[in-house]
């Protein structure tokens, strides 16, 4: 029998039981739609984490002092200072895989403008921190230069959160003087908004100033002139980050004169590590969601099998008649198989549409990032086609093996 006739017969049979066909299809529709929507949510969150982390600078490497043993007592990592400006110089000179190295001096304090004040953090860095390491564009005004670092000039750039809180009436803060603690500073620029970091930290709640300004004018303790709190560096590209972090370790172990038996007194963190951690977490999430959705597809398939068995039993006489007028077993098999595949493919198409639109609705109403990927569509569609064949085959085979005499007399 030709494919056209098979399709026509299958369509006719489904039309005869529209509601039942639709309900059977619903299992597949929900299955396929949930696979696509779930994978879209998983992929979307993965992509958004990745883009946020790359927004922080995917080549970025952070070096912090590590907990050290002092007189037998292990000390908190933040309480010890092991990194020095000499380390910074050594890294700048010796590490070929680093494109930029900047020390960072942090200070918490109150920023004041007129009668507004705001508790925030000031970060003292070198110009390449913004340009190369964080790749953080200046929105208004200009960034400070190496010369500003050399002269400890009292200039700063404000993050968006600081601007909102110090300048609630609007108007450009560029050219205004603010105070950080007791130090008056000229605002020479504003930073483009960065939003929250992957950890939920507001990256815009910051003031960026020349390293030496913060080091000498704001921190201005004996320690602060020797030690730096953190060193930020940037690898020449994403693939060299691991090599770069190894170089850093080697250089710092040498400059710190650590014996091979000593632990590192610093910690090197690359963004790549973070990205990998988050990616693998969200990859796991995606797989988990896909498995759950896959189970619902399986349940849908069982629904098809069930209904096809009912259909075969119900139409035993029809099968007997078709056989008596010349249908071969294979004709009957194909007839019922076509029906099952038609149900599952139609369900698949509707499921893809529903899946894509529900992913879109999730983004629209819940503001969750979603990403509908082609492989998930192709895969779920393939799975549902296979489901149709697999679960449709046994009922169809049962039909094709009926004895025409008994089938004709079936009540």
């Amino acid at each position: 029998m030709s494919l056209f006739n098979l399709l026509r017969i299958a369509l006719r049979a489904l039309q005869r039981n529209k509601l039942r066909a639709f309900l059977t299809m619903l299992g597949i529709i929900i299955g396929v739609a949930s696979v696509i929507a779930m994978v879209a949510i998983g992929q979307g969150s993965k992509q958004s984490i990745q883009s946020q982390l790359s927004g922080m600078g995917s080549n970025m490497i952070i070096i912090r002092p590590n907990s050290n043993v002092s007189a037998g007592a292990r000390l908190d990592a933040t309480s010890v200072q092991t990194l020095t400006l000499d380390d910074v110089k050594a890294l700048q000179r010796q590490a070929p895989d680093l494109s930029a190295v900047s020390p960072m001096a942090n200070a918490k304090g109150q920023a004041i403008y007129g009668n507004n004040n705001w508790p925030t953090t000031i970060q003292g860095v070198q110009p390449n921190y913004l340009t190369t390491i964080r790749q953080w564009p200046v929105q208004d005004g200009v960034a400070f230069t190496d010369r500003d670092v050399q002269t400890q000039s009292k200039v700063c750039l404000l993050g968006q959160t600081v601007i909102t809180n110090l300048f609630p009436t609007g108007g450009s803060p560029v050219g205004k003087y603010i105070r950080f603690g007791n130090v008056p500073m000229l605002v020479i620029g504003t930073l483009a908004p960065k939003g929250e970091s992957a950890f939920g930290q507001d990256q815009d709640d910051v003031i960026i100033a020349p390293f030496t300004t913060v080091q000498r004018r704001i921190l201005s303790s004996a320690n602060s002139t020797i030690f730096v709190q953190n060193i930020y560096a940037s690898a020449i590209n994403e693939t060299r980050t691991t090599a770069a972090s190894d170089e850093i370790s080697n250089i710092l172990r040498t400059t710190h004169r650590l014996k091979p038996s000593d632990e590192d007194d610093f910690a090197v963190r690359t963004m790549q590590e973070l990205i990998n951690t988050f990616s693998s977490t969200s990859q796991l999430l995606t797989v988990l969601l896909a498995v759950i959705a896959g189970i619902s597809l399986l349940v849908g398939g069982i629904g098809i099998m069930n209904i096809m068995y009912v259909s075969v039993t119900e139409r035993t006489r029809e099968i007997g008649l078709r056989m008596s007028i010349g249908a071969r077993g294979v004709d009957i098999l194909l007839q019922f198989l076509t029906e099952a595949i038609l149900i599952s493919l139609t369900g698949g198409v509707l499921g893809v549409i529903l899946g894509i639109s529900s992913a879109w609705l999730v983004t629209f109403f819940l503001k969750w990032p979603t990403l509908v990927t082609e492989p998930s569509i192709v895969l779920s569609f393939l799975v549902c086609a296979i489901t149709g064949v697999f679960f449709g085959y046994y009922p169809a085979q049962k039909a094709s093996r009926l004895d025409p005499i008994e089938a004709l007399r079936y009540e």
């Binding site: 029998m1 030709s2 006739n5 017969i9 006719r12 005869r16 006489r317 029809e318 007997g320 008649l321 078709r322 056989m323 008596s324 007028i325 010349g326 249908a327 071969r328 077993g329 294979v330 004709d331 025409p404 005499i405 004709l408």
Partner: protein
């Protein structure tokens, strides 16, 4: 279930000549149905041979039997066995669907011709539920004719019909027979048998009587003789 071997037919031998109108009669359990199944290539004899149009049916497989049924046999059942919610035309087209040699157009033309032959040319698009019992049986006969079989097999084809409609169906069979169609009709009603040209009586799986009918009646005349309006 079925562990005891039952010989439904024993030593039945006869020839059906082309153009004959043969009735097979017998009471329940006489082997009529088994004989019909065998003649219709639905079943194969456990012993002996059945030659249909020169082909030894006993040697064929399931698929070949199906092909034989499609090409050489036309079935008419007591319960019509039409596909529900399917138009008369499509019901008649059904056997041709399993014949790959025919195009859609040919199929349609032949189905229409057959429905016209059973005077249902104006009911092509009616579904079985929109047709009377007699009309449904006519559709079934058209379906049996459509593949131009060598033999039409009717199994109690008038069993579900009142006498007036039975006569009209028998008149149709007689008409087809007069056009040269070979008809084998299984029934237990003697007056139906009287319309045929030859009767085989079965009892306990054996042929009791095989005789040509002397005073063959015309169903058309019987139909005309019935009162036009029946008051009851």
């Amino acid at each position: 279930m079925g562990s005891e071997i039952v010989h439904a037919l024993r030593g039945v031998t006869f020839d059906v000549v082309a153009g004959e109108f043969l009735t097979i009669m017998g009471s329940s359990g006489s082997g009529k149905t088994t004989l019909l199944n065998t003649l219709g290539c639905l079943d194969k004899p456990s012993d002996g041979t059945y030659l249909l149009d020169g082909v030894d049916v006993g040697k064929l497989g399931r698929n070949e039997l199906a092909k034989l049924r499609n090409n050489k046999i036309g079935f008419v059942f007591q319960a019509y066995n039409l596909l529900p919610r399917t138009s008369a035309l499509e019901n008649v087209e059904l056997p041709l669907l399993y014949n790959p040699a025919l195009s859609t157009k040919e199929r349609r033309e032949r189905a229409i011709k057959c429905l016209e032959a059973v005077s249902l040319g104006d009911r092509l698009d009616h579904t079985p539920s929109q047709l009377s019992g007699g009309q449904q049986q006519r559709v079934a006969i058209a379906r049996a004719l459509v593949n131009e079989p060598v033999m039409i097999l009717a199994d109690e084809a008038t069993g579900n019909l009142d006498s007036r409609t039975s006569y009209s169906i028998m008149a149709l069979f007689q008409e087809l027979n007069s056009q040269g169609k070979t008809i084998v009709f299984v029934t237990h009603e003697p007056d139906i048998a009287s319309f045929s040209s030859r009767t085989i009586m079965l009892r306990d799986g054996k042929v009791m009587k095989d005789s040509l009918n002397e005073g063959r009646k015309s169903a058309r005349e019987m139909l005309d003789a019935l009162p036009k309006t029946e008051d009851y």
